[in-house]
């Protein structure tokens, strides 16, 4: 086991994959400035600073991915993805299909989002559901340091365009990573805490919120299972359904706004496939339909908190 921060885990994943595959390269706003060790190890050709122009960064990555390279791009903050939507959604997500399968687009787009730094809504907007709705893309949003490494490595090896969202609130947290080759397959959720009475389903920083709530509930004799989705597309429906069939209750928790969010997809999946097992309605706890504020207490209030999860579970249990 090695102990490190999320940033170090990302650096390690990039370094390992760049060493393994010479077609992997890193492009973005300051990647060569901030990740000097990668420049030293792999050269300026493969670690390239770019203009602050997300559209052409993404377009360059898409064109390169289709013709033999395996780019990882760092677009810094998730709202900046708006400038890269055409390249990611219309080109990377669609040109394989529209060409009858002639091209593939192995590329990873990294971006940070979420409460933690008080940067306000033009730097903090959890837009992961937008990309989950777009065909041809995969979406990953890790919660643990080990998963940041293992999922990033798997995303780089994937043959498809992957959106890799980094929760700002987790960016400098630390944790243990298994020694040796550590890969976490895309599309697999994980049970963070087993339980019997209710399933708490989450991803990114609200996984820890659910774990805290589960701890509190345990003290009151209520056994809650916590599922970390890890990959939002493809969604691990089997793991979600297996847990809900066991517990009969589900609360979905995420920081992104409720309307049209990942929670709606999870809730609908449960309703369609596990209705007979449900003992109570499926609940969602999510951010409000508001831009993310900068003010610290408002930003914290944006994110569902453990007390609210505990209260929701108690409501379900009547």
């Amino acid at each position: 086991m090695a102990h490190m921060t999320v940033q170090e885990a990302i650096d390690q994943a990039l370094a390992e994959e760049m060493a393994r595959d010479p077609s992997v390269l890193l492009l973005g706003e300051g990647v060569a400035t901030k990740r000097r060790a990668l420049v030293d190890a792999f050269g300026a050709e493969r670690v390239r600073n770019t203009p602050l122009a997300e559209g052409i960064i993404a377009g360059t990555a898409v064109g390169a991915a289709a013709t033999g390279l395996r780019p990882v791009i760092d677009l810094l903050f998730a709202p900046f993805l708006c400038y890269a939507m055409d390249e990611l959604v219309n080109s990377a997500g669609k040109l394989r299909y529209l060409s009858g399968g002639q091209f593939s687009f192995p590329l990873v787009t990294m971006a940070m989002t979420g409460a933690g730094w008080g940067v306000g809504a033009q730097h903090n907007h959890n837009v992961e559901a937008w990309f989950a709705h777009a065909p041809g893309l995969k979406v990953v949003m890790p919660a643990s340091v080990a998963d940041f490494k293992g999922l990033l490595k798997a995303a780089i090896r994937d043959q498809n365009p992957v959106l890799f969202f980094i929760d700002i609130g987790l960016a400098y947290t630390s944790g243990d990573i298994p020694d040796g080759e550590h890969l976490v397959p895309l599309g697999q959720a994980v049970v963070r805490r087993p339980g019997e009475a209710v399933t708490l389903i989450s991803y990114a920083k609200t996984v820890a919120v659910c774990e805290q709530a589960a701890q509190t509930l345990a003290g009151q004799g209520i056994s809650a299972e916590v599922i970390d989705l890890r990959t939002l597309k493809p969604l691990d429906e089997a793991s979600i359904l297996a847990s809900v069939r066991k517990t009969g209750r589900a609360v979905i928790v995420h920081e992104a706004s409720r309307s049209g969010g990942i929670g709606a997809e999870v809730a609908a999946t449960i309703g369609e496939h596990a209705y007979d097992a449900l003992k109570a309605p499926v609940l969602r706890l999510a951010g409000p339909d508001a831009p993310a504020p900068a003010s610290y207490p408002l930003e914290q209030a944006f994110v569902p908190q453990p007390d609210a999860v505990v209260a929701a579970v108690k409501r379900l249990l009547g």
């Binding site: 377009g59 898409v62 390169a64 593939s104 041809g136 043959q159």
Partner: protein
Amino acid sequence: MSVNTYDGRVQDLLQTMLLIRAYEERAAALQAESGVPGTCTSVGQEASAVGVVAALGADDLILTNHRSAGHLLARGADPGRLLAEVMGRRAGYCKGKSGSLHISAKELGVILTSTIVGGELALATGVGLSQKMLKRPGVVVCFFGDGAACEGRFHESLNLAAVWQLPILYVCENNQWQAFVHRRETMLGDSIASWATPYGIDSATVDGNDVEQVRALATEALDSIRASGRPFLLETRTYRLRGHFEPDDQAYVDPDELAAWRARDPLPRLQARLLESGQLDARALSAMESDAQRRIDAAVAFAIDSPYPAIDELVTDVYA
């Protein structure tokens, strides 16, 4: 089907231009008469497409846009498979999933066609980066219009290609129309080539309705790119003689302007020049025209005979 390369015979250029004209006029007629999906034609722009493609080597790559039939046919695309694609048939280059708007033919090096205006400009830098980093010999040719030149991506693409010294030939086919808006409403001045200068990119402007001039300048531009590794912008001044797509009655087009450009139609111009200079006689021209029509007749029959894709194709090719 292999990539067409040209050995310099001007008659071959004419033959290809005749094929493109016959193909696009037939596609438009099929739309009008039989309800075949409409296309964005490049009628009037054949010299630009053929002149540039004729200057390419077999390793060079092409990125194009919704007005792509000329580029594809000049590169050696089979008109039957193109028309099958337009009609949504299984034998099309993209299994019928593209339709006319984003046809790619990887086997011909015509890749990543985007119908989002400016989309091809954003992707071209990536293809150029692959060519450079993987030390491949081919130059990347990116065809776009004056409409795309007014998109931010044009400027972002040129800037990055210049900074990273990418082997890209930008070809702006300035056909004066940006969908339903004349170019003079959307930009000051007349020159797009001059926009390359502040980015440190060499450029040239050519009469886009003269295939021999286009080929000559494209050849010079490609030689310059191969020698320097740096991008180049070629602006071909031409005109979209038909509407934005089929059907389009062009009621918004100034009839005097249209008439002036019809008088400069690249096909009659080239034919007259070749007949006058004795490089072609009337019988040979007539045989070339008949040959083009015969190929298009066969293409129509092929496309109509091709079945539609099976319904399970709806969800294939989404992920690799």
